[in-house]
């Protein structure tokens, strides 16, 4: 019997998810042994046209990491969806939009303005910007279109499973591969991580009646390594973040940043976190509350660091000047 086929793809991502696969050490050899790789751009030289030639539903497992920012990424996502039996959103970007999803505070025009004109290091006197088609004497050059809005994988194609994490922890990857090989996957649509929150796995001591008079940023204090970070006024995303990482950030004295996305049953991770943070403020005076709230410098970036595209609003309402009204 021939080996099951495996495709690994990266879209709008940093490459950390691919590195996480290599970090599985001996497991990666097992993976390479158990599967026939048909696509893995970071590690091997495959051509899209070879994958396109594969019949529908012929790839047994596709691990898709990265969000959808460009037309090319969208096309590849659709192409792989057709050919894959099991399509897994692998890592925070594919699951929830991830760090690239923070681009949804701006749009194509806003980002191009910043990158190709406004930054101090930009030297672009001719005001050249990327274009999808450029006519040259030698012929036409093309680039994939850059969308206004970053989307998660499941906002573009049907997605079978979610493996969250930035990047997904090695243990979780091992479990996923084992589940696929032994055909013991749960119901389609499941997130392959525990339903609970990071707080459930966190070893820190908690004060049950949380009271915060002032929020502090990590740059201002060195947290006590044994007490709950929220008790110390440091915003930790643990209460509204799915477990599965064994509290790897709080364990090394860093607050949880929310990369696993919302736990089971939560519609919007940022709003749940806002609700939790709001309720621990220790004041009944409107003006004092206002002062404490202003200690949260950037609620959007803090509460939606890894999940702005999957928030209820998906993106900010504001549009940069002269941006195209067409939303792609």
């Amino acid at each position: 019997m021939s080996k099951p086929k495996l495709a690994i793809y990266w879209a709008a991502t940093c490459g950390g998810c691919d590195v996480a696969l290599l970090d599985t050490q001996t497991k990666v050899v097992e993976i390479a042994d158990a599967f026939e790789l048909v696509l893995w751009p970071i590690a091997m030289d495959f051509k899209y046209k070879d994958v396109e030639r594969l019949p529908e539903k012929s790839i047994d497992l596709c691990l898709f990491n990265g969000a959808i920012r460009t037309e090319e990424q969208e096309d590849i996502a659709r192409m792989l969806r057709k050919r894959a039996k099991v399509l897994v959103a692998f890592g925070s970007c594919a699951c929830h939009g991830g760090i690239p999803g923070l681009g949804n505070v701006s749009d194509r025009n806003g980002i191009f303005e910043k990158v190709y004109r406004q930054t101090r290091s930009t030297a672009n006197n001719d005001g050249i910007r990327p274009r999808t088609r450029t006519e040259m004497p030698e012929g036409t050059l093309t680039l994939p279109a850059f969308h206004d809005t970053v989307r998660s994988l499941d906002q573009v194609v049907d997605t079978d499973y979610y493996v969250p994490g930035c990047p997904p922890p090695v243990d979780l990857i091992g479990q996923v591969v084992t589940a696929v090989l032994s055909r013991s996957l749960p119901a389609v649509g499941s997130t392959l991580a525990p339903d609970k929150t990071v707080c459930d796995e966190c070893p820190r001591e908690r004060d049950e009646t949380k009271k915060v008079k002032q929020f502090r940023r990590l740059a201002e204090v060195t947290p006590d390594p044994t007490r709950c970070l929220l008790d110390q006024g440091i915003i930790c995303c643990g209460p509204a973040t799915r477990a599965g990482c064994e509290a790897r950030c709080p364990s090394v004295n860093m607050p949880c940043r929310g990369c696993f996305g919302p736990p089971a049953g939560v519609l919007d991770q940022g709003l749940k976190l806002l609700s939790a943070i709001g309720s621990i403020i220790d004041s009944k005076d409107e003006r004092e509350i206002s002062r404490i709230v202003n200690g949260v410098q950037d609620p959007l970036g803090c509460f939606y660091r890894f999940g702005l595209p999957k928030s209820l609003l998906h993106r900010t309402r504001t549009r940069s000047a002269d941006s195209e009204t067409r939303d792609d």
Partner: protein, 144 residues
Amino acid sequence: MSSAEFEPKILAFLCNWCTYAAADLAGISRIQYPPNVRVIRVMCSGRIDPTFVLKALNDGADGVLIGGCHPGDCHYLEGNYKAMRRYQLLMKLLEQFGVESGRVRLVWISAGEGEKFARVVREMTETVRELGPFKRKETRVHVE
């Protein structure tokens, strides 16, 4: 759609003990107020999860009104303070999202203030009418 034709939809979450009773009183007293408000009774303003507010806006509301007991008068002692804290943080977040502050309002209206309830609804209807419809964006769902 011009603002003359636009009738805003306002979803109101009113606490059982004060603001809902105020709405009742406004009705019993036959005080006139715009029919743009849709009321949902909750036990306490402290029950309002910020998710309710954003889901309302996302699902068709142009504005959200939250009504609770005056500070110090909460039936559950401190629920309205909880609402106050969350509201302030939520407004800061909404500003970053580019959602106009007039669309979401937290007010304290006691059971005896039927007239105030009617006035708040009138004010908010006009504010939201001025702002126009809330710009929703559909989630792109994959169509083969």
